[in-house]
Symmetry: C2
């Protein structure tokens, strides 16, 4: 298995750094190939702007159209092209990051903003009566898998069904469904560590064991059953879920997971 | 009214740029004071790192604790201190940005990651049997209001109750509740423009009229009725919503809005 780890934390000796290191060693020892995009070490540029599109940048700038033209003509900057190439190389992409303000750090958001260009991650495929582009289950990255490994400062109860932060699956939905599933990645259930601010060195052996178990059983792990956009569950072009498909009482983001 | 506009788009002649300009002129003509943080023009640094905390950065770096100590001792960088000062000056904060991958652009996330430090935006207040810190309705920014003005590429139906992207209120919940309401800002209902990728110059007069109407009626606009953490609706310290408080059939993020 070829695994790309995209890692976003400023401190190598952090819990996130340790989980990244453990993933690298565990997967390599199991015979897998591993590449790492360490965004802080790479000094990854977070803000998408005209400089990303070289001679394909129009004036005024049009982010979607210009990024697509830059992708088509090979005018994207080398840092972005390298990440797209890594994604096409990988069978599995692991994202290792802390939840900062309930979502990913800016440097990682900037990786998606700049690497997931038009014609690469969106604006792919035809639109017709039965198909609204290739997305949500189809697309450039179809056939590959993704996994979030995240740390959360607060205790698990705050992220539970009735918890004040909102349920963790709903907090991660815009990433797992909106960003990863959109260009076709199948998303495995996340590995979440709660109460990260209160963990000590003594807690790490148990954490390491749980993370290694997840890493060594990924082949037999079923992805989250997001509904495929073009497989009959949605009206086109409104992309409303067809009436009657949801289990009783389910609403919001959960409509888009098959029962 | 003192209004801070935090604006995140790389192209001044974009729809987002026009909406920001219109907000400035409309509010000033109505007699309000306006300041603008134009993050691209400011070349805002997006990635939080040890450099933000000066001599308060420890080794290994601890983002929460170190940012709090840097805040307490005045060691935060001048760019961050300037934004905190603007927030304390403002009665209202407007955030103008495009939805990129269903949330804010990286440069704006980096504004929150760096400006919303420990002891300023979180880690405020005592923890005891009836209070779990000052947050979700209390905190440093209590008594002020916030408003998201966002553009979305896709059509409105995709963001509707049964739409494939998920309902817009749920997509914005981690920002409106998790980031803005957390340090005490009261959040006004968002101004959302859909189908932004297909809008033309001819559409702008109607858009401008709708935006001006919102801007000139903010005083009489009721904020979203998020539940206050320490007002009796939650068990402490689990922060589970107490049983029986939700309307029938409501789940997920919607539990945290009063009926």
């Amino acid at each position: 298995m070829k695994t790309l780890i995209v890692y976003a934390h400023p401190e190598p000796r952090s819990l996130n750094g340790s989980l990244k290191d453990l993933a690298v060693s565990t997967l390599r020892q199991a015979g897998h190939e591993v590449r790492v995009s360490d965004l802080y070490a790479m000094r990854w540029k977070a803000a998408a702007d005209a400089g990303d599109y070289g001679p394909s940048a129009s004036s005024p700038l049009r982010v979607a159209a210009d990024s697509g033209r830059a992708f088509d003509t090979g005018n994207l900057t080398p840092d972005v092209r390298a990440e797209q190439e890594k994604l096409l190389w990988a069978d599995l992409v692991i994202f290792q990051f802390p939840l900062w303000w309930y979502t990913m750090p800016a440097i990682l958001k900037g990786w998606f903003d700049r690497v997931f260009t038009y014609h690469f991650a969106y604006g792919v495929g035809e639109h017709n009566d039965v198909k609204y582009g290739e997305r949500f289950g189809e697309g450039t990255l179809a056939g590959r898998r993704a996994l979030l490994s995240v740390t959360a400062g607060g205790p698990e109860s705050h992220y539970a069904e009735r918890g004040i932060n909102g349920p963790i699956d709903d907090l991660l939905f815009p990433i797992q469904h909106g960003i990863l599933y959109y260009p076709g990645l199948e998303v495995l259930p996340p590995f979440v560590l709660y109460g990260a601010d209160r963990l000590t060195r003594e807690d790490f052996p148990d954490i390491a064991k749980a993370w290694q178990e997840r890493l060594l059983t990924l082949d037999s792990t079923e992805p989250i059953a997001f509904r495929r956009q073009n497989a009959g569950d949605y009206e086109i072009p409104s992309l409303h879920l067809k009436e009657g498909l949801e289990p009783a009482g389910r609403s919001g983001f959960r409509l888009h997971v098959r029962p």
